[in-house]
Every structure is written in C-alpha cells, then in structure tokens.
Symmetry: C2
Subunit: 351 residues, 2 copies
Amino acid sequence: MPGKRSPVRRPTMRDIADRAGVSQSAVSFALNGRPGVSEITRDRVRRVAEELGWRPSTAARALSGEGAATVGLVLARPAHTLGVDSFFLQLVSGIQEVLAERHLGLLFQIGHDVHEECAVYRRWWAEHRVDGVLVVDPCRDDPRPGLLDELGLPAVVIGGAPDERHPGLSAVWADDAGAMASVVDELYALGHRRIVHIAGLPDLAHTRRRIRTLRAEAERLGLSEVQSVPTDYSDTAGAAVTRRVLGGTAPPTAIVYDNDVMAVAGVAAAAELGFSVPADVSVVSWEDSALCRMVKPWLSALSRDSVEFGRTAARALLALLDGGPAETVRVPVPGLIARGSTGVMRPGRGT
Amino acid sequence: MPGKRSPVRRPTMRDIADRAGVSQSAVSFALNGRPGVSEITRDRVRRVAEELGWRPSTAARALSGEGAATVGLVLARPAHTLGVDSFFLQLVSGIQEVLAERHLGLLFQIGHDVHEECAVYRRWWAEHRVDGVLVVDPCRDDPRPGLLDELGLPAVVIGGAPDERHPGLSAVWADDAGAMASVVDELYALGHRRIVHIAGLPDLAHTRRRIRTLRAEAERLGLSEVQSVPTDYSDTAGAAVTRRVLGGTAPPTAIVYDNDVMAVAGVAAAAELGFSVPADVSVVSWEDSALCRMVKPWLSALSRDSVEFGRTAARALLALLDGGPAETVRVPVPGLIARGSTGVMRPGRGT
C-alpha cells in the first residue's frame, strides 16, 4: 500500500454522544465520574468510549487538576561514566514496569550536574509537566531535596538515607554500610589485613557511607593498612588506581571495587603487573553483572536486584501521589556471591 | 532549616500584569506573540515574565494546539539483552542534548515487543501526550511505520533504511552493508577464508542488512565457508556459538561479533578451548566501547559515534515538527579500528 494515508481522527466526546444516543454533557458527566446521569447511561457511555478507543487528553486532564500523568527522572552524571553502566537501565526498567500499570509516563532527561538538574525541576514544575520526580545519586550538600520541598513537588530519593530536614520526601535505600561491613568481615576471615577500596564518585551519599564504614570496621578490627580511594567510576580510573596501589611497597592483598567495570579493568591491570587473582590479590566487585562472569576467574560480587529497586522506588512515588505520607523504604542489603576471585590469603603475602 | 516549608506559588499571568502595570489580556497578547499591544508593552511584559520565572503550562500549550512539547521513545527488547548495552544510553544522551535546546521533554518507556510498543503509540497519540516519536530497532514485517503513518504522528526511524511505503516518516541510518563489506575485505586481505559472523537478533533490519552483505561478499570473493549465526546479543549466546564453531571440524580463522559483549565473552570461550587471539583466530567487535579495551589483546572494533547518531535523529524529528518534509539522513559508515585482535592468518590454519 504505497502513498501516505490521511491520518485517522481521534474520537471525541461528540462521537461518543452520537454513537450512544445521549447528549455531550451526559458523556462528560459519565466519563468524569460525576453525578447527573443514570447508571445505565454511564455504563453505555463507558462501553461506547471503550469501543471507540477514546481517552481523555493528558492536557485536559492536567488543566482539570488531575495531574500530568507523568513522572520525571533526571540523570546527572558525566557522560563517559554512563558508558557501560547496567544499573540505570535495570533501575529504569523496574520503574517503568510499575508506572505502566497506571499508564503513567516517564519523562527522562540527562543533565551535567545537580545544578542543571535543579533548573530542570524548576522548569518541569513551572510547566506542570510532571506530577512527581525520582531523584538518583543523592550527594553531599545536595540542593535538590530543599528545592523539591520548596516547590512542593512529590519526590522519592533513590539511594538516600532518611533526612529529617526534608520530611516531605520519601526515600528508598539499601544499607551500604551493612554490606561493606560484611565484605570486610569476610575478607578478614580469609586472612586479609591490607585492604583497598577503590571507590566511586566521592560526593555521592552511598560512596560516603561505604568509605565511613570501611574506616570504622578497620578501626574495630585494628587494621591500619586499609584505605578508600575515590574515582570517577571509569575503567581507566579503576586500572590506574590498581596499578598504583599494587606497585607500592606494601601492596593490598584484597581490593573492593565500587562497580563491575572498575573491577574487570583492575583485574587486567593486576595481571599486567604479574599479580594473580586470587593467589596474590583477592577481588570483590560491588555490582554483579554479566561482566563479572566474562573474566577468568569469575568475580566475587555484591549482588542486588536493581530492577526490584526501581519497582520499589516507583511504588513509593505512587503512594505519595495518592496522597499518602512520606516514607522511608529499606531494600535488602546486597549479598556477597563468592566466586573464584576471593580466596584465603597466601602465607607470606601479608607481611 | 528543619520542617517543611509551604510550597511556593507558580507565577501567573495576573502576577505579570500586576508587576508590569498592564491588563491581563495585554499580558496574554504579549506572551503569545499576538498583535494588539505596543512593542514597548510587549518588551516590558516579557522582561517581567522572565524576572518572575513565568512559563506557559505544558497543558495549556497543548490545548492551544502548540503541542505537548514532548517526544516519545519506546525501547522494546528482552530485558536481559539491555544489561550491558552502552549504545542506548549514548543514543539517548545525544537525543537529550538536542531536545534540551528546545526545552522538549523525552517520554521514555520500556516495552516487551513491537506490539506492546504499538499500543503505547496509540495511547500516547490518543492522549496527546507526545508531538512525535523516535523509533528504534526497525525489524522485519514491522507494524510500527504503518501505524504511525495512519495516526499521522511525526516519526523518525533510527537505523531504518528509507521505506517508500511510508514516505511520511523520516529515517536516520548508517550503511551497515558498506561496513560489513569493508570488514570482510580487510579479513580477506589478511588471508582469512573461513569467517563466521555471530549476529544479533535475526529480525532486526540492521542484522538482516549485515547478513545479506556477508553472503554477497562471500559469493563475490568465492568463499564457501562463510556463515552468519543469529543470537539474542547476550554474552551467553556469544560464548556458546563461539564454542560450537571453534569445536567443529573446520573452525573459522576469523569471527565478527555483532556487539562488544558477545565479542568479549567469545574471546574468553576461545581461550578455554586453547585458541589464541589473534594467532589462531582473529576477532572483530561490531561496537567499540570500554569493554573492548578491558581484555587482552584489545579488540579490533567497528567504531561509531552513538551520541552523534542520537543528535542527528533528534534534529530530524525537530525538522518534522517544524513542518519540514520527511527526509532520510545517512550517518557516516562505522570505521574499523584495528587493534591487537586481528592479524594475518597463520600458515596452515586455513587448510
């Protein structure tokens, strides 16, 4: 069928009225759930509307105070760190699943930093473009919770611990501190005393929780040669820091990487320096993905269900949109899957 | 500052009228670019509106026929194949960059298949939710172009060759056929005669273009031991097919993988079978990413600028929304970056 057909026309309330044999105002009353029409008429109008594929225009719904039927998500990270990141697509996939049940759209924007993100929120709010937002990557001195509180825009902070200064915002988070403590305990039990944590962006809330916990655990266990080194999450940084610490005078016998990309790059860098995994150095990836099973040996990894994390966050936002109170939801602590990259410290290596 | 502040109020046309000392209708005329006010008043009103941070509501703009100021994108792929896929985030990043200049939002949805995707388009259209859409992963017997033509929804098909049956749609695509031909020529020049192409999803238009070209080139060069094997893009499939073809009686001396994830998994599988890269088998990845530089040797890869691809697609959609004619834009053919994984065929291997 060559050529362009003329576009079909959207069904209107008038079409429904004609087909159902009632007045346009009866159709309006029926479809908006207002009194003034009989139950029989209401049923007939709804059936005809369904047959015709009629839907209220989002714009009309927004003006009538029913909201934009849209939820916003801004991702503000340096573009090169998004390259090989499976977490966000999985998170968004879980968010979508829940929003789709309610026919809510997800308005998505990639920004450069939190200040640009704030400008986006202001614009979305001024233009009535979203009913609420999902905030990712909470960070130090974060201007976003204060702004969202001020605007009265319903919001869920993903990965943020509860913040009493902003009781109007919901939060969905995992206990990174507990996970870090369990990783350190596990490595300690295997005999490791010199541990390096190659961390993510230093201003992110969850990076800070992990660094604080590592320090506290080291003090508790009396380990003086434990440190965190923040990076930008890139494979380049993962490899560079690995080379630096393994090339030092007292190289670590275990390394914890804050993502899978850095862990894989780090294992390659270690091999170049003649370090064998896990004989010379044990490796843990804080994120399990296909990547962790693409190298030899397979990487021990902290596994979390990022799709479910997204679902939980979306449900928390829906609860706010439905008029519920702000809440803090704690998702399960990521669990360590021990694979081939972690082992007992070899005698002599730790001295 | 503990406690929740009361939300600030959005500035209205009345606020602008008060501050500017003019009537509300003068404000309306001035801001909507209609005649009836002097240039001096228009300038003053615009200045005051800017000072107050006023913006037209998206809903009001949509009802006045100015559109939803939103563009839609549905991603319909099996969730597990999205795991480690850098292409889409980069594409979306480029799309965003161009849309942001015009303050257009990107409404994003993940679906299961093209039929669900069609249902989403119908709903978006019926609800006036988007002004146009970007269509990815064009495929065999694709129902989407016909539907979008029928609905009259402006659309750009990303990765689709021009389709004369749907002259209303724009297309942005790269010449995969040309790229495949150049890869085969390069491998042929290195002495390779037995080449396997571990392909992506078999129904996707670009997979089909690559498979067709490989077959044509093999015929032209008189190569009888050349084949394409379609997969689901996963690392598991990449490893499994690699094992199968290398374990056969006349194993290939060169393998072309349709993405980076399969290539990396394939190299690991080859190593397990005792095949050294590139001495025993040359490897090409059809997608360059950090992954290709995380393995030893670094992978030769077809490199394309996915961010720029996204920008080009968004610009093509803006041109349609501005009332321009449908057009087909060809982006540069991906170029082969030769790294350590491709080499001259070792004497004796090809017999």
